[in-house]
Structures are given as C-alpha cells and as structure tokens.
Symmetry: C2
Subunit: 299 residues, 2 copies
C-alpha cells in the first residue's frame, strides 16, 4: 500500500491523526521536497522534529529521486506499506497525479490522506473561494526570458516590422496576464502562486555537462508586483494597475503568517519577510468580503 | 481566544494534531452543524466518538444558535479559550467570515486551524485544481421555484409575449447555468456543489408562525444531473448535454468514497449511495488528467 499523506501548511503538528497513524504503520517513509518547501523542512532541526513526532526515519525525495526512482518506491509499496509525505494536500497546487497513475498501472493500492493546501487556506483573507477564477503562476523573469503569450509575440513582431502567422486553436490564451484579465472581466478574484526555484540545475553547469544547482529562490510579493506592473506597462491593456486592490499573504498557516490588503503600489513597500509568499488580485466584492479586507488593510 | 478548527472531510481522526491540541486546551467546545454534515456528526455514535477522542463535551451549534448566540459564544471567548469546530476547512466552501468579523469587532483574538475541504480534496479525481473555473451551487428545484437568471427571465417574457426592461450593470450573470457555460468556453472544469437542506423551517410551519423543520435532504448526483439537463433543455444554449463528460464524487475523504467518471447520461444510472455528493463537469484536459479519468471511467 502507498499512502500519500498531506502534511498541511504549518509545521509537523499539522498532520492529521489519520495521517499520523498511517505514517506510524509504514515500514518506509519518504517526504517530497521538490514542489514546495516547509520552514520545518528547510530549518536545521525541522526534519528531526518530524522524525521524532512520527517515530520514523524519513528519506527526503527530491525531484530527481521521484522521477528517477518512482518505480523503486512503488516496488517497495507493492511489498509493504510506504508513506509518501507531501506538503499541503496531495492534490493541491501541484498534483501528484503522475505517481498515482504509475501506481495504478502497477496495481499498487493507493490511499490519499487529505490536508489543507494553499488552494483552500487562501480563504483566510476573507475573499470567498467560489468567487475565484482560474489560478495563475507567476514565473521569475530572466534577462533572456519574458512572458510569451500570443499577444506579446504579435506586439513584438509588429515592433520589429515582422509578419505574424496565427494558427487557430480551440484552446484559450494561456499567459498569466490573460488569465488575470479574464478573471477581472468576470469580476472574479485571482490567486497568484509565486515562483519557487529549488534544485534548479544552473545554466552554466548544464553547458559543462554536469549538474550543479542554483541556490533556492522564492519569489517575494514585491518582485511579483514589479513583474506584473512591468508586463502591464508593456501591454497596456489595463488588466490591472498600480491602484488595483490586492492581498499579500506570507507563510500562510504558520504561526507568524502575515496578511496585508492594499493597492499594488502600497504592497510594493511592505516587507513580508520569509517565504512562502502568494498574492491575490481582488475582483468584485461582497460586503462581508469588504469587512474582512478592512481588517487587513494598510491604515 | 476563539479557535476556529477545521475537522477535514472524513471522521474524528481527520483533525490535525495542532487542532487537537487546541481543542484539548479549550474550556468550551462547539461544533457547527449547519453548513455541512459529517457521517460522524450524523451517525448515532459520531459525536460521542469525537468527545472521547478529544476528551471534551461538545455542544452542537446549529444555524439558529450561531446566528442568535454568536455574541454569547464570543463573550465566552473573551474570557477563556473556546473552540468552534467546523467540517472541512474554516474558509472552505462556506466561509465563517461573519463570525470572524464579529470577533474582530469585539477585539476577541481568533486563531484559524486549517484542514482539507471539498475545494482542494476534489483534486483527487485527477483534474488539476488550477484548471477549475468558478464553482457553482446547484439548488433543489421546487414546484414553485426554478432557476432565475436574466436569460431565463427574458426567454419566459418572450414566451409570454411580454416586454423586458434590462437594467445594465457591470456585474456578470450569475446563475449556475451561465457559470458552467462560461467555464466551458474557457476550457475550464466546473465543480458543482449540491444542495444540502438541514433544519429548514417548513413552509407550512412558517405560515402557522411556529418553527417546525423539514427532514434533512441532500441532493444526489442523479438529481443534480436531471435538473441540469432540464435547464439545458429549456434554454438550449448547449452549455452541456447528455454526452458531456463529468466526474461524480460521493463521500469524498471517507473510507468508502466513490469516484466515477462518465457522461451525464451514464452517471444518471449510477447509485452513489449515502451523501454527501458533488459533481465535476470536465473542461479541456491534459494527458495526465486523461489517464487519471480513465481509472475512474465506467468500463
């Protein structure tokens, strides 16, 4: 049996009793460390506190390991009980569908133990969950990479005096900018998940043919807003602007979580501290939502 | 201090360790019984199992009590620690923003302890959470009440040969039908939450001036699909139809949860058993999503 156990959002005490019982019953315990990172996963004594509470030795499974050794983990799970611990919910912001699909193909039984994830805990800011549109991810821009929607490509071609061949599809435009704009038109809130770069091979090392890793990077709310405003400035479609209302949330579910509501301009100057950060762009609001936002507003 | 503690989706063992510690430290413990109902809340020994595990006497707070006695609960919380237990996540499908707003106005400190809710656990069916559009609620139709969007009103007026005065607003149409249609156009999945009627005063009793309550009713997936198809037939805009792909989920997070993927027509004949039920109307899919749906498909 493979148990996929959600750990929730805070520390080792956010596991459920059902989850803890499952972990205690397992012969081998892995923790995924590649889609998200917990303070207790990162801090020096985090893993040992977890091992102490759960009464188990825990193997850290990074992205490479899960991709390369999934079959090994699943072979174990076909012989005895294995727990695979996941930050948040197993099917939260990043799904572990691939592992489940592989398990089912090998006829390994899977049991999922749910927990809180950013996708529901975001409700704490007072904006109702069913009034959110599609969620977007904001990636780090680099010197050589900028967002790349068809709109931006057409604009770039035009500026360069080039022709543009448009292939028509039934799928909709898919950049974060267009999703935010669409949500705005519908009066919906937008949850922006901010980039996390952990164990990324450095470009330099890829060129040299051996793997060295960049230090971990977490996008701050400030960087996200800077980038969002940069895109708005270059496109000028007014999906949002300096005065658009937002809520910035840092370390959601942790003891020291921080929630601040304000305009993009106002939030640019707020120090939200340690990761993880996320951002909500506010759509149309209900009076009760307004009252909640009021509590988190910059006075 | 007022602790608002999410209980998750299964039984009493789905509370988190953080949540359990909070409950144990409280002098008084309430459980809300009006937005959703747990099997363990409904079953005869459910509450006593919970009381035994948590080591506390638990007071059931129905809708009336929370609305009428909120100030009493908050006055207690200003003097000693009170826990308010909530099925799922405190800010899941139904938010408890109103209680939080009242608490903040009375300067009562509030601590939220998150857990899984339908809004993230729905990910278990394999459709990625960030590819969902707006969530909809499907209400029970009655003899005298049918869905009531502007579209339907215009159509009805037209059928009756009446003029229609249209007042223009910036807000978007708001019936579940239009939301499903909009999500479909965007290629997004739609989560349909199905009606729960608990402790509804009967119309008869309201007329007589004293409160008697209807027996609890939970909408099944079958009823939801029947109603959806009825609306589609009367509107004929082809937001969906008999052949639209759906996933039906019953008792999500429980030991005996049931997940079946198929067309609306196919799901009409499936017996999903005891409540709670919910339904997903599938949008455009990714290959990994397809593989997961395959496992849940009617063969």
């Amino acid at each position: 049996m493979l148990y996929i156990v959600g750990l929730g959002l805070g520390d080792e005490r956010d596991i459920t009793i059902r989850g803890l019982e499952a972990v205690k019953s397992c012969k081998k315990v892995y923790i995924e460390a590649y889609t998200s990172l917990l303070s207790f996963g990162l801090s020096s004594d985090g893993l040992s506190r977890m091992e102490k509470l759960y009464g188990k030795t825990i193997t850290i499974a990074d992205r490479e390991m899960v991709e390369e050794k999934a079959d090994e983990i699943l072979t174990e799970a076909s012989k005895f009980d294995v727990a695979f611990l996941v930050v948040g919910d197993p099917f939260g912001a990043t799904t572990h569908s691939d592992l489940v699909v592989r398990a089912k193909k090998l006829s390994v039984e899977v049991k999922v133990i749910h927990n809180a994830s950013i996708m529901n805990a975001i409700g704490v800011c007072g904006l109702q969950l069913y009034r959110y549109g599609e969620t977007v991810s904001i990636p780090f821009f680099t010197e050589t990479w900028r967002p790349d929607s068809f709109y931006e490509k057409i604009q770039r071609n035009k500026e360069l005096g080039l022709h543009t061949l448009c292939l028509l599809e039934t799928w909709r435009p898919d950049s974060f900018y267009e999703k935010i704009q669409r949500n705005k038109e519908l009066g919906l809130h937008t949850l922006c998940l901010l980039d996390i770069r952990v164990k990324e091979p450095s470009i330099e090392s890829l060129c040299r043919g051996r793997k060295c890793f960049e230090p971990p990077r977490f996008m701050t709310i400030n960087t996200a807003i800077e980038q969002l405003l940069e895109v708005e400035e270059s496109l000028g479609v007014s999906a949002y602007g300096e005065n658009s209302r937002c809520v910035g949330l840092a370390r959601l579910g942790y003891e020291d979580q921080m929630i601040v509501a304000g305009s993009m301009k106002e939030l640019l100057d707020v120090d939200f501290g340690a990761p993880l950060h996320c951002l909500v762009i506010v759509g149309n609001t209900h009076p009760v939502e307004e009252e909640m936002l009021e509590f988190y507003s910059i006075k």
